[in-house]
C-alpha cells in the first residue's frame, strides 16, 4: 500500500525532478525549513502529493488493516460481553466494596478525560498563538479528544449500579416529576462533558468540512452521498471560507476555557468530598495539568504510530515530535510541582488519616505503584527529554510517552481508588482488587481507542489538507507581501525560524 501511494505520487511529476516530499525531507534534514517558498506550480505539485497521500490511504484496505481491525474488534467485543455480564449479574462482579466504592471505572474515566484534554487544548492553543507547525497535527489531535471523550464518557455509565437508569441524570422534564440535583458534582460533570464532547466534536468537524468536500469530489456511490451530506454543500466560495475562519476563531477561544473547566470539574468530583486524599483545593489545576500531561504524551504516541502506519512521515515529521517532546518536558515539571505541593501540604499537616494514606502509598501495599508512578512520570521524562537525540528518536519517544501514560493511569488509580482505603474509621480501612469484567472493560476501551483511529483513518483525512495547503500559501503570500505577518511567533517561512 505504501509503495503504491509513493509511486503514484511520483508518477504525477516530471520524471527526474525530485518529488515534493523528497525536497521537503532534504530541507528538513538541512534544518532550515520544512517547505520551500514555492512557485504556484510547485505548490500545485505539493498539493497533489499531499492529496494523493492522504486521500489514497483512505481507500486502500490491506490484509494488515483487516487483521488489526479484527484483533481490536475482538478485544472490544470481549469488553462488551463483560459489560453485559455485569448488567446481568449485578455490579458485584467488580471488586468494589466498602470502603472502596469507586475502582477501575472511575480511574479510567479520569484517565480518558485527561487524555481528551490535550487534543483540543493543544490544537486550540497552537491555533490561538498562530503556531504554523501545528497545521499537520491538529486533525489527529482533535480526533484524539473526541475518541477519548467518547470512551471516557462511557465509564460513568458503566460504573453505575443501575446502568439502565443513567438517563435519570439528564435534565429534561420527565414523568418522575423530578429534576436532577445540580448541586452534585456529578451533574456538573455530566454537563461539562456534554459541553466538551459537543465542542470538541464540532471543533473536529468544523475544519473537516472542506476536506469532506474534497473527499466527496474524489468518491462515488454511497461514500459520495455520505460525504456530500456531511460536507454541507461546501463549494469553497470565499464567503464560506470566511465563515469557517470566523467560526474557528470563536471556537478556538471558547474551547480553551471549556477544556480547562472540564478537568477542573472532574477533579471536583473528588475535591468536593470529605475524603482524605481527595479533599484538596489544589485539585482543579493539578488535574488540569495532569490531563495535559497525559494528553500530550498520548498525542505523541498517537502521532508516532500514525505517521508510521499511514506513511505520513513527510507531514507528521520528526520535528513535530521533537517539539512535542519539549512541551512534554515542560508539562512534566509543572505536574510534579503541583503533585509535590499537595503531597507536602498533606505531610506537614500531620492529619492521622492523611499520614496513613501516605504510608499506604510510600511504604504500604501501594508502594510499588506509587514509586513506579514517580519514576515514569517524573524521573524518566526529566532525565531523558532534555536531549535532542532522545526527542528525535521515535522508538524512545514512543516508549517514554507510553510510560508517561502508564504512570498517569497509576496516578489516577492512586488518587481515585486508594484514597478511600484510609478514612476516619480505622475499622473500615480496606483494599481493592479488580474483578475480571473491570479489567476486560478497561482493556477494551484501549482497544476501542485504537480501533476508532484505525476506522477514522479509512473514513476521514488524517491531516487537514486545506490547512496545510493554506500554510504553504501563507508562507508565499507573506514573502510576496500579499499579507502581513500577523504574529511575532516565528513561522516556517522565516529562514531559520522556529529552529
Amino acid at each position: 500500500m505504501a509503495d503504491d501511494a509513493r509511486s503514484g505520487a511520483r508518477g504525477g511529476h516530471d520524471p527526474g525532478s525530485p518529488s515534493p516530499e523528497e525536497t521537503a525531507r532534504r530541507l528538513e534534514a538541512a534544518g532550515v525549513r520544512t517547505t520551500p517558498a514555492a512557485t504556484e506550480a510547485e505548490l500545485a505539485r505539493l498539493d497533489r502529493a499531499l492529496d494523493d497521500q492522504v486521500f489514497r490511504s483512505m481507500s486502500a484496505i490491506s490484509l494488515r488493516f483487516v487483521l488489526v481491525v479484527l484483533f481490536l474488534g475482538g478485544v472490544v467485543t470481549l469488553g462488551a460481553f463483560a459489560f453485559g455480564w455485569q448488567i446481568y449479574r449485578g455490579i458485584g462482579v467488580t471488586g468494589l466494596n466498602r470502603p472502596v466504592f469507586w475502582g477501575f471505572y472511575i480511574t479510567s474515566f479520569v484517565f480518558w478525560i485527561g487524555i481528551s484534554h490535550s487534543g483540543t487544548l493543544v490544537s486550540a492553543i497552537l491555533r490561538v498563538l498562530k503556531v504554523e507547525w501545528r497545521r499537520p497535527l491538529t486533525r489527529a489531535a482533535e480526533a484524539m479528544t473526541v475518541f477519548a471523550l467518547m470512551i471516557g464518557g462511557l465509564f460513568p455509565i458503566i460504573h453505575l449500579g443501575r446502568n439502565w437508569r443513567f438517563y435519570w441524570m439528564i435534565p429534561i422534564p420527565n414523568d418522575r416529576g423530578l429534576w436532577p440535583n445540580f448541586r452534585s458534582a456529578l451533574m456538573w460533570d455530566l454537563l461539562a462533558i456534554l459541553t466538551y464532547i459537543t465542542a470538541s466534536s464540532l471543533f473536529l468537524y468544523f475544519p473537516l468540512v472542506p476536506d469532506l468536500a474534497a473527499a466527496r469530489d474524489r468518491s462515488r456511490g454511497i461514500r459520495h452521498k455520505v460525504y456530500a451530506v456531511l460536507s454541507l454543500g461546501w463549494r469553497g466560495t470565499q464567503q464560506q471560507w470566511h465563515r469557517l475562519h470566523l467560526g474557528m476563531r470563536i471556537f478556538t477561544v471558547i474551547v480553551i476555557p471549556i477544556a480547562v473547566s472540564v478537568h477542573s470539574i472532574v477533579s471536583w468530583d473528588f475535591g468536593m468530598t470529605l475524603v482524605e486524599g481527595w479533599r484538596s483545593t489544589i485539585f482543579a489545576p493539578y488535574f488540569v495539568i495532569g490531563a495535559i500531561y497525559s494528553g500530550v504524551a498520548a498525542l505523541i504516541s498517537v502521532l508516532i504510530v500514525l505517521r508510521k502506519a499511514t506513511h505520513l512521515e513527510d507531514y507528521l515529521t520528526v520535528r513535530h515530535i521533537d517539539r512535542m517532546g519539549k512541551v512534554l518536558l515542560a508539562v512534566a515539571v509543572i505536574w510534579f510541582y503541583f503533585f509535590w505541593s499537595g503531597y507536602l501540604t498533606d505531610w506537614y499537616g500531620g492529619n492521622a488519616v492523611a499520614r496513613a494514606l501516605q504510608d499506604l502509598h510510600t511504604v504500604g501495599a501501594m508502594a510499588p505503584l506509587f514509586w513506579a508512578m514517580i519514576v515514569v512520570n517524573m524521573a524518566v521524562p526529566f532525565l531523558f527529554l532534555w536531549w535532542r537525540r532522545v526527542r528525535t528518536n521515535m522508538a524512545a519517544m514512543l516508549a517514554i510517552s507510553l510510560l508517561v501514560n502508564v504512570g498517569m493511569w497509576i496516578e489516577r488509580f492512586l488518587i481515585v481508588v486508594t484514597s478511600p482505603m484510609r478514612n476516619s474509621l480505622s475499622f473500615d480501612w480496606g483494599g481493592y482488587r479488580p474483578g475480571w469484567p473491570e479489567i476486560a472493560i478497561v482493556s477494551a476501551t484501549f482497544a476501542a481507542f485504537a480501533l476508532l483511529y484505525v476506522i477514522f483513518s479509512k473514513l476521514l483525512p488524517l491531516i487537514s489538507t486545506w490547512e496545510v495547503k493554506e500554510g504553504w500559501r501563507i508562507d508565499r503570500w507573506q514573502r510576496e507581501g500579499v499579507v502581513e505577518l500577523e504574529t511575532d511567533v516565528p513561522t516556517l517561512s522565516e529562514p531559520g525560524g522556529a529552529r
Binding site: G92, W102, M169, P180, L425, D428
Partner: protein, 228 residues
C-alpha cells in the same frame, strides 16, 4: 435523636440481628462479606485501645447511619436519591437511586450499604420479610433509616387516636431489642424527652464533630474510672 451510651453497649450484636430482621436486609454470603460487602445497616465496630497482653483494652462503637443534619451524602447525589426529610431524617429514596455510590464515598461514617447483587431469600425465607419495608434491588444504595416505618406507624396510630406522640413510643428495632438499653431514641427537640436529658450529659459527644455534619446521634463516652 438517638443516644448511644457506650458504657452500656456490651457488644452482644442483638441490634445488628434485629436490624436484619426489621429491615429485610439480605444476606451477602461468605465470599461477599469477605470482600467487605456485608449489608449491615448497623455495625458494632470494635476498636483496640491497647493491644499489649495482658493490658488489652477495646471499646465498642455501635454505628448506625448518623442521619447528619448537614449530610455530606446528600448534595453529591445527582438524582436526589439521598435527601433530607421533613423530620430531619436523612432518607434514601431507593427508587430514585441509580447507583453512583457517590454518597457512600462522601459518608465519613462509612455506614452506607450498596447492593452489589440482587438480594436473595431462599424460599421460604422470603415469608419473613417485613411488609413495611422495601426489598432493595440490585445496584442501589441503602442504609439505616432509624426504622422510618416504625416512626410512620407510631405517628399514624397517634393520629388515629387523636393524641400527641409520647416520648419513647417510637422505638427503632435496634433500641427495642438492646438488652442493656444502650440505644435510646426520641425527639431531641423536646427538652423533656429522655434522649434530650441523656444528650445533655457531660459524657456526650458526636462522631467527627469537627466535620460539622451535625448528626443527631449522640454518643455517651465510655467511662474508664469508677465514677467516669
Amino acid at each position: 435523636m438517638l443516644v448511644v451510651d457506650l458504657n452500656l453497649c456490651t457488644g452482644c450484636q442483638a441490634c445488628v440481628a434485629a436490624c436484619f430482621a426489621e429491615n429485610n436486609i439480605g444476606v451477602a454470603g461468605e465470599d461477599q462479606v469477605a470482600m467487605g460487602r456485608g449489608r449491615h445497616w448497623i455495625k458494632v465496630e470494635r476498636y483496640w485501645r491497647s493491644t499489649e497482653y495482658p493490658d488489652v483494652r477495646a471499646v465498642y462503637l455501635p454505628l448506625p447511619c448518623q442521619q447528619c443534619g448537614n449530610a455530606p451524602c446528600e448534595p453529591v447525589c445527582p438524582v436526589f436519591a439521598s435527601v433530607h426529610s421533613k423530620d430531619g431524617l436523612n432518607s434514601q429514596v431507593y427508587n430514585r437511586c441509580i447507583g453512583t455510590r457517590y454518597c457512600a464515598q462522601n459518608c465519613p461514617y462509612k455506614v452506607r450499604v450498596f447492593n452489589y447483587f440482587a438480594p436473595r431469600f431462599d424460599p421460604p425465607l422470603e415469608q419473613q420479610l417485613n411488609p413495611d419495608v422495601t426489598v432493595r434491588s440490585v445496584g442501589i444504595m441503602e442504609k439505616c433509616t432509624f426504622c422510618v416505618q416504625r416512626i410512620r406507624r407510631a405517628r399514624e396510630e397517634a393520629k388515629v387516636e387523636g393524641r400527641e406522640l409520647v416520648d419513647g413510643e417510637i422505638v427503632p428495632a435496634c433500641a427495642q431489642t438492646c438488652p442493656p438499653g444502650a440505644i435510646v431514641f426520641g425527639d431531641g427537640e423536646d427538652p423533656r424527652s429522655q434522649v434530650a436529658r441523656l444528650a445533655r450529659s457531660e459524657r456526650g459527644f458526636r462522631l467527627f464533630e469537627s466535620l460539622n455534619t451535625k448528626p443527631p446521634v449522640v454518643y455517651l463516652k465510655k467511662g474508664d474510672t469508677k465514677n467516669g
